[in-house]
């Protein structure tokens, strides 16, 4: 499947781009993260501490063990600091 993957805040800065298309057969978010980590050092660095990373699937917050079946947009970002 083809996913749109978005990065925000320091994840965007470390990886160096705000969004990309990713062709993957990852079953879960955690599987996708493993694939990204294996790609290049900048991905490995961005995802080095998953406690500092949040994920949204099709714009809803999700967990790392959530399945990717049917998902079109995956976003990774740090804990939110609005308000």
């Amino acid at each position: 499947m083809t996913l749109t993957v978005l990065y925000f805040a320091w994840l965007r800065e470390r990886i160096g781009l705000p969004r990309e298309s990713v062709e993957t057969s990852a079953a879960t978010v955690a599987d996708l993260v493993e694939e990204l980590r294996a790609r290049e050092e900048r991905y490995a660095l961005a995802f080095s501490d998953l406690k500092a990373v949040r994920v949204a699937l099709d714009q809803d917050l999700a967990e790392f063990d959530a399945p990717l079946a049917g998902v079109r947009e995956v976003a990774f970002f740090p804990p939110m600091t609005g308000g």
């Binding site: 805040a9 714009q59 804990p79 308000g83």
Partner: protein, 146 residues
């Protein structure tokens, strides 16, 4: 009931006046506004990044949740993104209800949830450079009381 996400400044006084002018059966209006602190003169500015699409969706969901928990006659959330200077207003919420306890509780709930569950990220500029603001444990903990 409305949610607005925008780069432009908003007029806090005018928003408060308009919100309180249509009270319906409400006897109590609470407003909150968040202002960029200058941190004793060290902050030069701030940039708020957000996730267009998800932001509006998250805020609308938080507002809907507040309306299921409390009997509100009205609610408003305005949140800015983009560059902000010290002293500028970042965001506001307003709630209206029959009695004050509900209006206060709902306003605090909206604040707690939008702090930690709406996709905004603050980056501060100081003389030392720019740094992303870290989430505070107490903000996450605050969700536990609801």
């Amino acid at each position: 009931m409305s949610v607005r996400v925008q780069q432009e400044a908003f007029d806090y006084g005018a928003e408060c006046a308009a919100f309180a002018a249509q009270p319906g059966s409400a006897g109590a209006v609470v407003t909150f506004c968040g202002i960029v602190r200058d941190n004793d003169g060290t902050l030069r500015g701030m940039e708020i990044e957000h996730y267009p699409g998800m932001t509006e969706r998250a805020l609308a969901r938080i507002e809907a949740e507040a309306r299921t928990r409390w009997s509100l006659t009205d609610a408003l959330i305005i949140h800015r993104h983009g560059p902000l200077m010290p002293g500028e207003m970042i965001m506001m919420v307003a709630t209206a209800s029959r009695h004050r306890a509900e209006a206060f509780a709902a306003a605090e709930f909206l604040m707690d949830y939008l702090k930690s569950r709406a996709p905004f990220w603050k980056k501060e500029q100081t003389a030392e450079g720019a740094a992303w603001v870290a989430a505070r444990d107490e903000d996450e903990d605050a969700l536990g009381r609801w």
